[in-house]
Structures are given as structure tokens and as C-alpha cells.
Symmetry: C2
Subunit: 134 residues, 2 copies
């Protein structure tokens, strides 16, 4: 019975302890600053959520997309996006969900500035877990 | 022997499968844009790395700090920082490692702009694992 138990354990552990792609895998970063027309903010947010969910779920090279709003102006948004490499970013732009987001929201955006960036140091709780007391 | 094995397993599994804090726990975001004096860039980067490692390792409320450089100008840096809440951010500013970083690098920074932000949607491979083919 014991060997069978170990075999079952070996099958289950990689699934339950699977580690997804980390910040350490990032080579391409994009930062987008968007000004949204106030009357479009709700519709824009819905489109963003749908597009981001699809991108993270279906594209292995899209590692993170963080959308945040200025604390004093909810229509001023920043997107901080991390990709495995430039090719992953280019593929992302061609996906049906990105194209849908892009065309749906085009008229909702008052201005957009895109910055290309490279990682200097990317730290989070996945690559540097907190160990309180140390 | 089997019960002892299960007891040992129960002790080990929570460690190996422990899930660290996620983007979903973030309520406070700070974005800092820094222009570094070119002659100080190397020293600045070393100080940043040391401070970030200590912050993530010792502060449970510091969830991520991502430092990136403009693709065409390595002295133009952006810091995208995620905290559990405002109190965690304030505590972070008072830590010895932040104070050391702050005073060490003060003279290396030509300009600094800090933006306070709130999450709109934060997605990464930890809260939305990729499932290729879907």
C-alpha cells in the first residue's frame, strides 16, 4: 500500500504546488498612461477587466497587467504590464480579446501615452516571501 | 510507520505549498518616477536592490516593488509599488532599510515625482494562471 500511496502523492504534488510564471521571467515592461472620458469610465473599466482576464488566462507570455487609478482622479489610469519578452507583447496585441478591447474603448480614451521599459529589479512576495522577525 | 509519515507530511505540506500574499490583497499603490544623475546610476541601483530585498523579506504589508528603466534612457526609473494598505506604506517609510536607502540615495536623484494610486484591476499569473488552448 505504501508504494501506491507514494505514487499517488507524486502525481498530486506537482499540481497542488505548481508555481506559475514569476516576475523573474519578465524581460519586457510597458507602462501606459490613459486619460478616460469621465462619462465612459464605467464602460471602459468593464472592457479592461474582460480583456485582462482573457489575456492572463490564455497567454502564457502575459505575466501581469496591473491597472490603477490616480487617487484624486479616477479617470487618470496607469497600466503596468509585464511580458515574458517582446514577442509575447506583440502576440498579445494581435489576440481577439485585445483587438476587441482596443476597438471597443478607442472612443472612450481622451489621451494615451505608452512607455517602453526594461526591468531593473522586480520583487514581490512570490520571489521574496516575507519572513517576519528576520 | 504510516501514521508517523502522515504526521510528517502534514507538517511539511503547508510550507511547500504556502501561498504568499497576492495582488488581490493590495489596497494601496504608489508610483514613483525618478531621474537619476547618470554618474550615480550604478550606486543607486545597488542601494535600491538592497532596500527592496529587505522590504519584501521583512515587511508582510509590502507586497511588491517593481523597478524599471525607460528603454531609451536607463536613468529614468519608474517604481510601481503595491502595499496591503496605507499603514503598511507608512510603516515601510520608517524602517531602517528604507531610511538607509533614502539617505544613501538622496544626492543621487535629480528629480522625483510620486503618484498615489488605487487598484482598478490587478491580474497576474498567480491570481489568473494561463491555461493555453482555452
Amino acid at each position: 500500500m505504501l508504494p501506491r500511496f507514494f505514487a499517488a502523492l507524486a502525481c498530486c504534488l506537482p499540481l497542488s504546488c505548481w508555481t506559475p510564471a514569476q516576475a523573474a521571467d519578465v524581460t519586457t515592461v510597458r507602462i501606459a498612461q490613459l486619460q478616460i472620458k469621465p462619462e465612459c469610465l464605467h464602460a471602459f473599466t468593464l472592457a479592461v477587466r474582460e480583456g485582462m482576464e482573457a489575456a492572463l488566462r490564455t497567454e502564457p507570455g502575459v505575466l501581469a497587467i496591473y491597472a490603477v487609478a490616480d487617487k484624486n482622479d479616477p479617470t487618470r489610469l496607469t497600466f503596468f504590464e509585464m511580458y515574458a519578452d517582446d514577442a509575447a507583447y506583440e502576440r498579445h496585441r494581435q489576440t481577439p480579446h485585445f483587438q476587441k478591447y482596443f476597438h471597443t474603448t478607442k472612443s472612450m480614451i481622451a489621451s494615451r501615452v505608452l512607455h517602453e521599459a526594461l526591468p531593473v529589479e522586480l520583487r514581490d512576495k512570490h520571489n521574496t516571501p516575507a519572513r517576519p522577525g528576520r
